[in-house]
Amino acid sequence: MLRFLLTRLLWAAPIVLVIAVLSFMLLHLVRGDPVTALIGDFPAPPEYVARIRAEFGLDQPITTQLWLYLVNLAHGNLGFSFSNRMPVLDLVLMRARTTLLLMVPALVAASVLGVVMALAAAPRAGSGTDATITGLSLLGHSVPVFWLAQLLVMAFAVQLHWMPASGMISLRDTPTGWAGIVDFLWHLVLPMTCITIYYVAIVARVARAAVLEVLHRDFVQTAMAKGLTHRRVLWRHILPNALIPVVTVIGYSFGSSLTGAILTETVFAWPGLGSLFVSSISARDYPVLQGIFLFSAIAVVVANILTDLVYWLVDPRLHRGSRKLANA
């Protein structure tokens, strides 16, 4: 087990390093520089431009910049964001936290909903109900997120006034304490819906396959024949088996979900990593872009390792003489 963990971690390090170098080269090989982005559409005197470039070390050759970047990276210094005026590491962590506040509830909701749909669909596999449920879940996976987001806002925020149109909290008379939490949750509903809808499909598909597989296993048939109630069978045998691949797929999806947040955050003005990414592109804030790349990559690697771990720990088939198999 330990060996397994170590091997994975050992592989993670070079992956992250390669990502770091690749992202640096990619960003710097292209045209347009941050000073121009900072200045906007007005002519700045050359001395002014030169001064700003020197401030940010942009006048040194690329190899020097890359070396400095890697050295700083080793010390945990991800650079300084000149458009946000704070260290990149702090900025990325702060925004990542905000994105997680959105993604985690969304993914949890997607898991729950997906499993529920799978439990409804699998026993009726091949029937119209099954097809309908599967179709519905895939519908969520086929919709452009930003389009859906705008439609939802128009319907629920502008026309019906049931939900807020944007942001994380109410800015006018910001409530505190419990009311503040409720306010946050109220702001969470629409953006979360957009993300959940997308991931329900993946979860439902995987959960359905898992439930189907378990339903046909001999011991389940035996258990039913023995007279065990549906509910016991469900909770003791089916759900745990369905949950494993669900956790796996959610874990693996975690990485893509970070970038999936980009579009939702943009439409809902949710101040997370996604909107930071978009604003940093136009600002040509390279340190931030690199920081986001790196963070995403590391997050995915960590999520993958954790998921593998959970899978390894929980999957009954990997345990010799597991209690679960014997229980009936």
Binding site: D41, F42, N84, R85, M86, S166, L171, A269, V278, S279
Partner: protein, 527 residues
């Protein structure tokens, strides 16, 4: 001309009516105004760039000596009154009683220090004025006397905060690494009507009333919150849902104007220096080096179609290189609508006469049309121009790229034949439109200057005269003449004077007392 006059008068007249209507209600104290911006400011000072969030928020914190009133009239800011010497070289400013947030008074030392050490070094708009300052007399803490090396027409204009002339406290910034000083970002020590209470990067900035503000009883508002909503549709939706109260012109997509202006819950105002939509022509690439060809391009453009569909009937089509909103400098005798009325047949003849005849496949020559793909208006303009020019036998290749790439392509590499761009008038001919035409504005790598690389000594001389003349009449004479010349030379096709409109909830009062940013201390909200 009368038609246009009516249109331009309509807005101020309705403004006047609105003012008188509102003047009936006395201002109420209290309330929170929420402004929806598209980005965060980078620093909380108006001295370092011309991006809107920076200058807008920065000028709330660190003010300037003067501020803009209606029609860009100069009004008192930190300075309560001023005198100009007859030779135009000495400016005496008398300071009002203001305090910094830490309690220390705002003195002439602060003015001199921050203008010469920050504005003159970092403020692109102030630099021309800064270069001409010889000495500043600060013997009296309440009086600042500027001695210029030569007269400079727009000097007072340059002392407004938005012109990168914010006054910052010497005792906080002197001797420090200015760009990394927390008083620039997290802990500002300003003199303005509002103080920063909280800045959540990428989300919002909360500003609260300054209880020690120099104007008694003001500001009326308790708080001003600047919320960042990057997506333009989301901003409008937030305004409609009542979550924000105001959107600045840069962040307001005019396609929503019709709907919002008809909605009684909202009010709209024309604001801003004025900016123009134009097409730079690369005069070093044949056959664009011939003025006749450039004129033909102008004649081939369907101005009415552009105006109605791309510009939504807002603003007006340009008649000259100088925006008509700069009334004293605009030459009414020059009228593109008459000189270059839409006439494809005439355009074809002009091209034939210039020796640019169609080849075997019907194409006379090819134009690579560059534009910024993030600006929806420019994308539409490009598509219209393509159709118009193809109709007279010119093949047009559309090259739309992302904003920064566009700037590099056009101003760094001169890799274009025609480029659609938007130039701010800067509020004054010497600060704005001259950079499109003078020889010393040809600076490879400097964005938004003379990208056409047009060079004409007569034009250079006239622009210099316009800038250096002692009074406005003299300046106007020079500018009138240069407009006549450039109307025929046309290195740049000035198409349209943009409508810069800001929109706000009808509950916000006294929002439009200035030509540019609001006078924040005068705003009040209906509860």
């Amino acid at each position: 001309m009368t038609m246009d006059l009516k249109r331009w008068l309509a807005l101020p007249l309705s403004l006047l009516l609105a003012v008188t209507a509102y003047a009936a209600d006395p201002p109420k104290k209290g309330g929170t105004l929420i402004v929806g911006n598209g980005d965060d400011p980078r620093v909380l000072s108006g001295n370092f760039s011309f991006q809107i969030p920076d200058t807008m928020v920065g000028c709330m914190v660190y003010e300037g000596l003067l501020r803009f009133g209606p029609g860009f009239k100069l009004e008192p800011g930190l300075a309560k009154s001023w005198e100009v010497s007859p030779d135009g070289k000495t400016y005496t400013m008398h300071l009002d009683d203001s305090k910094w947030e830490d309690g220390k008074p705002v003195t002439s030392e602060d003015v001199a220090w921050s203008l010469m050490n920050i504005s003159a070094k970092y403020g692109p708009k102030f630099i021309p004025a800064g270069k001409l300052i010889d000495t500043i007399d600060t013997s009296d803490p309440h009086t600042v006397v500027f001695h210029l090396k030569q007269p400079f027409g727009p000097f007072l204009f340059s002392l407004v905060c938005e012109q990168n002339a914010a006054i910052m406290p010497k005792h906080i910034f002197e001797g420090t690494d200015i760009l990394k000083n927390p008083a620039l970002t997290t802990k500002p020590i300003g003199s303005g009507a509002f103080r920063v209470a909280e800045w959540v990067p990428g989300d919002h900035i909360t500003m609260v009333r300054n209880p020690d503000y120099r104007r008694a009883g003001k500001p009326y508002l308790d708080k001003v919150i600047l919320k960042t909503i990057p997506d333009s549709a989301a901003r409008i939706l937030a305004l409609q849902a009542g979550e924000i109260d105001m959107i600045e012109e840069l962040y307001f997509s005019l396609t929503y104007f019709k709907q919002l202006s008809a909605d009684k819950r909202f009010q709209t105002h024309s604001v801003g220096y004025g900016a123009d939509d134009l097409v730079l022509l690369n005069v070093k690439n044949a056959p664009l080096d011939k003025p006749e060809v450039r004129q033909a391009l102008m004649v081939a453009i369907d101005r009415d179609y552009l105006f109605k569909n791309v510009y939504l009937g807002l603003g007006q089509m340009a008649t000259s290189i100088v925006d008509s909103r700069l009334t004293w400098a605009h030459n009414p005798a020059v009228d593109y609508n008459k000189m270059y009325a839409y006439d494809p047949a005439r355009a074809k003849k002009m091209l034939d006469d210039a020796g640019v005849k169609p080849g075997a496949d019907g194409t006379r020559f090819t134009i690579r049309l560059a534009f910024s793909a993030n600006r929806a208006d420019d994308v539409q303009t490009a598509q219209v121009l393509q159709r118009n020019w193809q109709a007279v036998g010119i093949k047009v290749v559309l090259q739309g790229t992302e904003g920064n790439l566009f700037a590099t392509k056009v101003f760094g590499d001169y890799d274009f034949d025609a480029a659609i761009a938007n130039y701010s008038t800067g509020g004054d001919v010497a600060l704005g439109v001259s950079r499109l035409y003078t020889t010393d504005s040809i600076r490879k790598g400097s964005v938004y200057v003379n990208g056409s690389r047009y060079s004409n000594p007569e034009v250079d001389a006239l622009f210099d005269q316009g800038r250096d003349a002692a009074n406005q009449e003299e300046r106007a004479k020079a500018y009138f003449k240069v407009q006549e010349i450039l109307a025929k030379e046309l290195p740049v096709l000035t198409l349209h004077e943009q409508a810069q409109i800001n929109v706000a909830s009808a509950k916000v009062h006294d929002l439009f007392l200035a030509a540019h940013y609001p006078w924040w201390d005068e705003i009040w909200m209906q509860q």
